[in-house]
């Protein structure tokens, strides 16, 4: 089909008349995700096999997280994204705001080993508005040549400019950064969110960040982050583990991951409320979160699958690079999306202000 499928019903009729195709609305899906290596992994393991088996073409759109665009689409009634890849904090919020269709986990296929979906998905990766796909992690990564002698290995080293000189890469959003600042300041991982909830704790986190503020370069997207590290523009950066791993294994960049106190999070597929292609969108979600596509995805990006039944299908060499590998997962902290939903607004704004002040 050549003609892009319009989402207005009268136009859909026209579209039917022109193409003579059955159920025009379901011939194409638009899926929004985070771009770069990550979207590439979804294309190879999920979009392309789905197109091959159903004939539905998939248009891939990049976005950078957050609910702004989605909110605008849903509230104005001009929904152009059918499925979105979202992080838990956005899923929680968007679900409460009515931006996503509800998904019944009983409708999801069982794992390839026969275990029903409800038991197959790891805890927390099934949500009333979304289905978990990958476990990814906020880690620190460094450029190996930037530290010829001692290598940084702990969260504390990120804030230690004396022993580990060099510029730091920080994201333009505060997630995981504030947690690390407190941990580096001596707060135990289990107490981080409790301390961060107090005004003194928050001040303490920002005071710790102040110590590296004038040595920091700020990035917006995962692709920028990798570029800064690869160009030697920053020596040590907050990072997403999968993108760093891809740069190491696919592009032979001299980067290293620090797994110490990684903060792991999950991504989900959610169906946008009011999409014209709702059934096809659900079909896609069911397909893409199956045992095999999730296992396949690990070949292209080092994020762990949300299904337990996918684990045995992963080659050992790849499994060792995932955040969920036992050696990496040692003292991992779970990203507390509910906490961020409750406190995020004020903190995001303060972080944005801190950044430009």
């Amino acid at each position: 089909m050549v003609i892009a499928c319009p989402k207005v019903s009268s136009a859909a009729l026209l579209c039917l008349m022109i193409t003579y195709g059955p159920a025009c609305a379901a011939d194409a899906l638009t899926i929004a995700s985070f771009g770069g290596q990550y979207t590439a992994s979804q294309k190879k393991s999920q979009y392309e096999p789905f197109t091959a088996s159903t004939g539905v073409t998939i248009k891939s759109v990049d976005y950078n997280g957050g609910l702004a665009e989605l909110t605008a689409q849903v509230r104005s009634g001009t929904v152009s994204w059918d499925v979105v890849d979202v992080e838990l904090q956005d899923l929680d919020r968007g679900c409460a705001d009515g931006l996503f269709e509800k998904i019944d986990p009983a409708q999801l296929p069982a794992g390839s080993d026969g275990v029903p979906a409800i038991k197959d998905f790891v805890t927390g990766s099934l949500h009333e508005c979304g289905v978990g796909t990958v476990i990814w992690s906020n880690v620190l990564a460094f450029s190996d040549p930037a530290f010829p002698d001692a290598k940084p290995s702990r969260i504390e080293d990120f804030f230690d400019l004396e022993r580990f000189p060099g510029r730091r890469g920080l994201p333009k959003r505060p997630h995981a950064i504030l947690e690390w600042a407190l941990m580096a300041d001596g707060v135990a991982p289990s107490e981080v969110y409790g301390v961060l909830a107090t005004p003194e704790g928050l001040d303490r986190a920002f005071a710790k960040l102040d110590t590296i503020k004038y040595h920091a370069v700020f990035w917006e997207t995962g692709a920028q982050m990798i570029q800064l590290l690869a160009d030697g523009e920053v020596a040590l950066s907050a990072a997403y583990n999968g993108r760093v791993q891809s740069a190491i294994s696919d592009d032979a960049k001299p980067l290293k991951i620090i797994w110490d106190r990684q903060i792991w999070n999950a991504d989900y597929y959610a169906v946008v409320a009011g999409t014209q292609a709702k059934n096809t969108a659900f079909d896609f979600v069911r397909f893409a979160t199956g045992t095999v596509p999730l296992a396949e995805q690990t070949k292209y990006i080092a994020y762990g699958p949300a299904r337990r039944s996918s684990q045995p299908l992963i080659a050992p060499a790849i499994a060792a690079t995932l955040p969920t590998a036992p050696a990496n997962f040692n003292n991992a902290l779970a990203f507390d999306a509910a906490w961020w939903t409750a406190h995020g607004d004020a903190i995001n704004e303060r972080y944005a202000a801190w950044l430009v002040q």
Partner: protein, 392 residues
């Protein structure tokens, strides 16, 4: 072209243009202006509360309004709007998101519980004052916030707490960057336009100069920014060159990008044609006889330039300068790509509130202030320039 009296057919011809301007230009600006002072989101989500609190005297806890709030919250839960309401109220006071979520969930289970028994937060008179203020659809709050001011629950206007003060500084920074970029464009652009105008004799040189000034126009903004990153970064072409030439040491690499310097360099590059082209068109139209007359009367070339040529080109300088200055005020993509932390301008904050914090009211208020500043400049500067003798 001769002036033709507009016939009906003539008007019909410009109608598409008028419609385009209204739809693509005037309507969005009007919406933005309105949004900066009109925020009916909470009023729409809490219609009963709004009605009741409009009659409230503002003292203590209004018992009469608790039922209205209960009914509004129940309805918002039923229509899936509770998250939106909680988020919007949380902006007025941090912590209200949790209060609204908890209360709404409780009401779903036990619809008739009294609010004060669900959460003691509802017994706080300050909360009700906030509710009374925000359920009114007209608000000056966003404009105040855009000026780093805020209103306390009892109605006094005070400065924002220090950690949240940034917009006034950013407006000033933006104006400073715009002025600096304009000045650099003038210093670089004037000789360039002069050379271009004087190169009338050599058509190939002239074509080359025109090509060079137009080249940036034909290249995507993103490509240009990326090219500058390659040149300016710490391991970029310039730093490596300086290092190889022994002018700097390994530790002395220059920070030319991801800061204010980067923003200014790239903005000058992008905006230079906007200075050169209007200036050139003025220079090209100048009769050479004035300069010759001055020379034949015995004036030194420097004097001829300063007293005759330069004043004649003032209109071009003013036009180019104003264009560059106003474009700089709204610059957004370039600072976002190469500005790092210190090179961010006010437009980046507007984008942040549009795309991230979803605080469209504040984004509109910041946009309104920026628009006012530009209008003021566009209206006053040409007049000042005229009065100051900057005329042909």
């Amino acid at each position: 072209m001769n002036a033709v009296s507009p016939s009906r057919a003539g008007w019909a011809l410009v109608l598409p243009l008028v419609a385009f301007i209204v739809i693509a230009f005037l309507a969005p600006i009007a919406t933005m202006l309105l949004r900066s002072v009109h925020d009916p989101e909470i009023a729409d989500l809490m219609p009963r509360t709004r009605q009741t609190l409009a009659r409230w005297d503002g003292i203590g806890v209004p018992q009469m309004a608790t039922e209205a709030v209960t009914a509004d919250l129940r309805e918002a839960s039923a229509t899936n709007q509770i998250g939106r309401l909680a988020q919007r109220l949380n902006r007025e006071r941090n912590g209200l998101r949790v209060l609204i979520d908890v209360t709404a969930r409780h009401l779903e289970r036990e619809p008739d519980t009294k609010l004060s028994r669900i959460d003691p937060g509802w017994s706080d008179p300050a909360l009700w004052q906030i509710l009374a203020r925000v359920t009114s659809p007209w608000t000056g709050q966003h404009l105040l916030n855009a000026l780093d001011l805020t209103v306390t629950p009892d109605g006094a206007m005070v400065r924002q707490e220090e950690a949240r003060r940034l917009y006034v500084d950013l407006f000033l920074r933006t104006a400073w960057v715009a002025a600096l970029v304009t000045l650099i464009c003038a210093l670089l652009g004037y000789p360039y336009a002069y050379a271009y105008a004087m190169a009338a004799a050599g058509p190939s040189l002239r074509a080359l100069l025109l090509f060079l000034v137009l080249l940036p126009f034909w290249t995507s903004l993103l490509v240009r920014a990326t090219a500058w990153i390659v040149l300016l970064q710490r391991r970029g072409v310039i730093n490596e060159g300086l290092l190889a030439a022994g002018l700097i040491g390994e530790t002395g690499r220059l920070d030319l990008i991801y800061n204010m310097t980067g923003t200014i360099i790239v903005m000058v590059h992008v905006l230079l044609p906007f200075f050169v082209l209007p200036l050139y068109s003025v220079m090209a139209g100048l009769p050479t006889s004035y300069v010759r007359a001055s020379a034949s009367l015995g004036a030194h070339p420097v004097r001829t330039f300063a007293r005759v040529y330069l004043p004649l080109t003032y209109p071009g300088v003013a036009a180019g300068g104003l264009l560059v200055f106003i474009l700089s005020l709204g610059y957004y993509v370039t600072p976002a790509l190469v500005g790092g932390r210190t090179g961010q301008l006010i437009s980046n904050q507007i984008a942040f509130h549009m795309q991230r914090s979803l605080n469209w009211g504040l984004a509109a208020a910041l946009g309104t202030l920026l628009l006012l500043a530009v209008l003021l400049l566009a209206l006053t500067l040409p007049r000042l320039a005229e009065r100051g003798g900057l005329r042909a």
